[in-house]
């Protein structure tokens, strides 16, 4: 499933600009600008909210329909990954455990 080429290249260029701009915004002007506390709090909550908003639909929906059941391999894999992430704090254990759970459920639900 090769993604369309110009679309991906534009995405890469946009992300490269974003990645540089967010890191350089205070370092490059080299001034003593300070973040107001409210702005800092928004900046702290946004990434966690964004990640959760990407992850939840990805694991709790199957074929565009709400599906939280033991028969949805991605849901089970996601839950196992959450449990492992909390208990081990290891990226590797989280990913390996989640993929194993996904594969096992697929074997049983065929």
């Amino acid at each position: 499933m090769e993604a369309e080429s110009w679309y991906v290249w534009t995405l890469i260029a946009g992300m490269a600009a974003i990645a540089f701009f967010t890191r350089a915004v205070f370092i490059l002007p080299g001034s003593h600008l300070r973040l107001p506390p409210t702005a800092e709090r928004v900046l702290r909550y946004a990434p966690a909210a964004a990640l959760m908003a990407i992850v939840v639909p990805d694991i709790a929906m199957a074929h565009g329909v709400f599906s939280i059941s033991i028969e949805n391999p991605r849901f089970v894999g996601g839950l196992v990954a959450f449990a492992l992430a909390v208990s081990t704090r290891s990226i590797l254990a989280t990913i390996v455990g989640g993929m194993l759970a996904l594969t096992l459920v697929r074997q049983f639900t065929g």
Binding site: Y7, L28, L33, A48, I54, F66, I91, M99
Partner: protein
Amino acid sequence: MQREQISALREGALASAALLVGIVPWGIVAGVAMVSAGLSQAQAVAMSVLVFAGTAQLAVLPLLIAKAPLWVMVATALVVNLRYVIYSAVLAPHFEHLPRPWRVLLSYITVDGVFALFAARFQPDDGNRHKHWYFLGGSLVMWCAWQLASWIGIFAGAMIPAEWSLEFASTLGLIALLIPLLFDRAVVWGALAAGGVALIAAKLPLNLGLLAAIAVGVAVGLAVARLGPRKEEGRV
């Protein structure tokens, strides 16, 4: 280079070596996930070099697979990268005396782990004239490790059959990255609200549900933070 600069560079590199355990498997996963999501090998290599922001890279992949519009993916990358704005504000006074090419380089190469090491070790007014070498040393180790690990993933990923669904590894990787971000009650409630709204609003066109979810998540986080302390007092 002076001896102090070399020793600061080496010190930073050694300190960040402890972070390799985390970044290497994560880089391999990002490499595999990029090609599983449909990027060519050249595109995947370009992304890992030019973007060099693993969380943002992993975050856009599920959206790319779902054929989300470009602006939604770029907006998502921006939101996930907002933490760098905080890092940038903290680092700016340390680096303000440096020439512009240095500041460009240090901006491009900033990553979470080295930022944390650096911020814990140096103060803006500590008069240390070689601390940017420490930052550079640590960052270079992370950059090389990230690129090598990504390339391993990119070239190995092309050989892994699609039935294995390895693109799901990007979602699992996001879960691993999400947990350490949940450092207080307000963030947890904000994230839960965002997850709920994303689910309810999943059918909105142009993936607006995602952006709505982030907005609601931030609002809930701010509200909980404001109400939180008073409630605690009430209970005690």
